[in-house]
Symmetry: C2
Subunit: 335 residues, 2 copies
Amino acid sequence: MKLATIKDGSRDGQLAVVSRDLKTAQLADGIAPTLQRALDDWAFIAPQLDLLYRELNQGRGRRGFDFEPANCMAPLPRAYQRADGAAYLNHVELLLRAGGAELAPALREEPLMLQGGADLLGPRDDIALPHEEWGIDFGAGIAVICDDIGMGATPDQAHQQIRLLMLVNDVALRNLLPAELAKGYGPLQSRPAGACSPVALTPDELGDAWKGGKLHLPLRSSWNGKLVGQPQAGVDMAFNFPQLLAHLAKSRQVRAGAVVGGGTVSNGGGKRGYSCIAEQRSLELHAKGRASTPYLAFGDSIRIEMLDEDGKSLFGAIEQSVTRAVAPADTRRGR
Amino acid sequence: MKLATIKDGSRDGQLAVVSRDLKTAQLADGIAPTLQRALDDWAFIAPQLDLLYRELNQGRGRRGFDFEPANCMAPLPRAYQRADGAAYLNHVELLLRAGGAELAPALREEPLMLQGGADLLGPRDDIALPHEEWGIDFGAGIAVICDDIGMGATPDQAHQQIRLLMLVNDVALRNLLPAELAKGYGPLQSRPAGACSPVALTPDELGDAWKGGKLHLPLRSSWNGKLVGQPQAGVDMAFNFPQLLAHLAKSRQVRAGAVVGGGTVSNGGGKRGYSCIAEQRSLELHAKGRASTPYLAFGDSIRIEMLDEDGKSLFGAIEQSVTRAVAPADTRRGR
């Protein structure tokens, strides 16, 4: 089943079911107004959505309309929880190497995970930031959306609670990051809003590509129309999604609708390319003594997509432009 | 105006208006079902809530009931954003000193702030965790709930968007913290769910005690019935709430309902006591070479409250017991 959230001017948008080929959609308003409401009562709601999904795939949707990713918000425009594991240790190693550091052995034993902010943009929303000089980078990854997970759940228990998968663009502000990490409390300003793919899908949509808690397909990133990365997301993932979820649940109840990412997908660069510019810059720094690839500039575009074995888009594409944001005018009102 | 969220078995509870003396409450269901919904459209909803509040204070509430903090969830049981500044640098200094470190000069220039998880418990919910050995500590603080704040907003602009204040108990797992900080991505497992006061209130309820973006009253913490801390929240706060909000908004749109804390309130120990055990342990370590005050044990209770000049409770009390949590049973189902 494929689900999307359609822009309607409200903060949460409207839940829609999208056909497998991403061509048509139908609002699920008779079933659940939003994806969060569906997740709040998944066992009851999902079968009803699934029925609508089957009708839509058979061309029997009675109120179907053309599916347009530009009209989508993130599947969960306001999530209650967002955590991100850095499960691709190649990526972590490359970024550390650029700073002259090495991967601590502890990071091979237990996931590196940060508490993220759940500012999630739609797939075609701009990456709007005030300063290029902040070192704007993209970060192509995969995230799961889960159901309730009890504190202390095992990876096997957590695995049963994975409801949906989607693609994410975790934007990072590389030039703000070192000072923020030096303060010791992790990234905050250096992690602005990221974006999500047009649809989130249930694991059964992936067939054999979803195996062992990992998604075994290449994740394609294009920068200004040029393919720059297509690493295999199923290899080099040191911790699978169930392990990441169990890590998060060690000391808390994880609640329905939590979004947990696997981090920037990486096979360590080379001919598979990169899912974030910082990796490429680290390789350049190592090989040539200086990083020559610049970060994103205003006007640049990033496209992130995953194709199935037949070359069909699974989640639809994230396709964002980098634009200059303007600070809010002083709108002091009387109060 | 004072607002609370009443437990009704749902994930979000029901919004209620609470009388100034915390004695009666009335559901606001005819106005907004939840506090988040009120915040989503504050300019339209708040005047209606305020009218109900005035009726209630005059004893004219038509469906009033006795207000019982034990029936409260957190005012926002599921917040979309939670960030915590460590604005009381005394506290930061004491904790760093225990680890043999000093306050970096940068931390006097710019707030130390972490991206928190928005797991918010009700005022009487247990601190339920599986292991005492994790070093369970309380952390008494104040948080604001804000309206939309544009990216790049100034502290003055952010100040206008503060809608509510509440008390928080930011529980920390001190023995998990060092290993997590060493990984470099900030606290995650070492920050389990915290709790909120029964009511959140609008700044006008505080009169002169709300001044310069700070709350100028003592915050009282009792441990097993004994008062252990009553630091003045208005002094020693190096960054006020508007500055903390502007820090968060530097590279993101902050959206209505964001909860931003000021960190553990501290006057540096001494006769004002402490708002978290780690501070006291740091002072002991410095004075006597060893920390003698233990962290919380199962069965312990923590009470956090703020009184006005007349000795009346402003927010109601957070009053939590520490209990042993049991890991979830293996509930593998067919799927």
